[in-house]
Symmetry: C2
Subunit: 223 residues, 2 copies
């Protein structure tokens, strides 16, 4: 699987591509940093970021694009530009039907170093080790993009397993609820309580079962 | 001049096109509202907004795109998505070399109603009057986009005049500074103070004048 990691920004936008294969670990394939000038109009800067990200997706054909999630609370002055840069990269992926995943900085740190509060030095050290690089990734800004991609490659299978488990739990719950409804309907039939508005008991059962299924579907694993 | 007004958003993004001509006032040519579903991934929603904005620019060929400026402080939960929607529209304009202008909500209100704190009702009433519409703009969300475009068409010539004045002041200042430098150089020549590193006084003067011009250019009207 090819994962493109993006550390969004207008002044500097880090891009990285890694490849993962079962049993063969993680390999760094490419890194780049897009720089745009602060005195350029915002729309030109966004275009520049989009152009490079778009070209990357053309060349590297990633299976998924992992982007750092930007919060409005952090550094209000630059947060909007950073969010917009993330937006144009995510949009470029959507035009190619490439799935996009967002990870928070602490999720990335936790995935790479084991601690959500790791510092830059620790992060660079771990990324260099994980990817088996001879020296720290260069340019330095690319390290965050690599970390994003590594984080995704490790979190995604876990998220996939959790989703599969969720679905299984959902199915069990739906089966259980359908049985309860069926049992209740059977009890009603035995007690001889008729319906005045003409629904047959089979149709009632089906409606009840469908309702139970629907409920189980939307409520997921919350029990 | 054709002005495209954009009230950015993911749930609803208002688009409007107006035409202004000297002595003929302002005419509304088109309005539209892009809606995207909150349960769609953000990148798909941005793509949908971009697709429609892009198509609009293809069809309507606006001379300028006026977009509401989004602040991170307001409604943190939706501000990022709104900023990203504004970003993809601005970027679409940049790909066509169409200039983009941002106006704050209070600038728009002040331009349209005379008060930066006008309410929605006042705004709709004034926009309906200014554009000579038989009834309030529909869909309602389009009113804000129309207001953005009207605001720009009124502010832009003023901004243009201010810029022209700035340039004039800059030129005067550069002329003045060049004269000061020239005067100083002449005084140095008269005093018989020679340069040891071999620059001729004419070259020195030219360098000094160029420096004065450069300074005047970057410092603008701050005096």
């Amino acid at each position: 699987m090819r994962v493109m990691g993006v550390d969004p920004g207008l002044t500097r936008c880090g891009l990285a591509l890694i490849e993962t294969a079962p049993g063969r670990g993680v390999t760094a394939l490419d890194v780049d940093v897009v720089r745009t000038r602060a005195d350029e109009p915002i729309e030109r800067r966004l275009r520049a970021v989009h152009e490079v990200a778009d070209e990357w997706m053309d060349i590297h054909r990633p299976d998924v694009v992992a982007i750092e999630r930007v919060f409005a609370q952090n550094q209000v002055s630059t947060a909007m530009g950073t969010a917009q840069a993330a937006g144009v990269v995510a949009m470029a992926a959507a035009y190619r039907d490439i799935p996009v995943a967002f990870h928070t900085p602490s999720e990335v740190k936790a995935a790479v170093t084991g601690s959500g509060r790791a510092d830059k030095k620790q992060m660079t050290l771990m990324i260099t080790r994980i990817l088996g690089l001879q020296k720290p990734p260069s340019p330095a800004d690319a390290a965050d993009a690599l970390a994003l991609a590594v984080c995704h490659s490790w979190r995604a299978p876990m998220q996939g397993r959790v989703a599969a488990l969720d679905a299984q739990v959902s199915r069990s719950r739906a089966g259980f609820e359908a049985k309860v409804v069926e049992g209740r309907a059977a009890a009603t039939r035995t007690a001889g309580v008729g319906r005045s508005h003409g629904g047959t008991s089979t149709a009632d059962q089906e409606r009840a079962r469908a309702a139970a299924r629907g409920m189980a579907r939307t409520k997921g694993v919350r029990w």
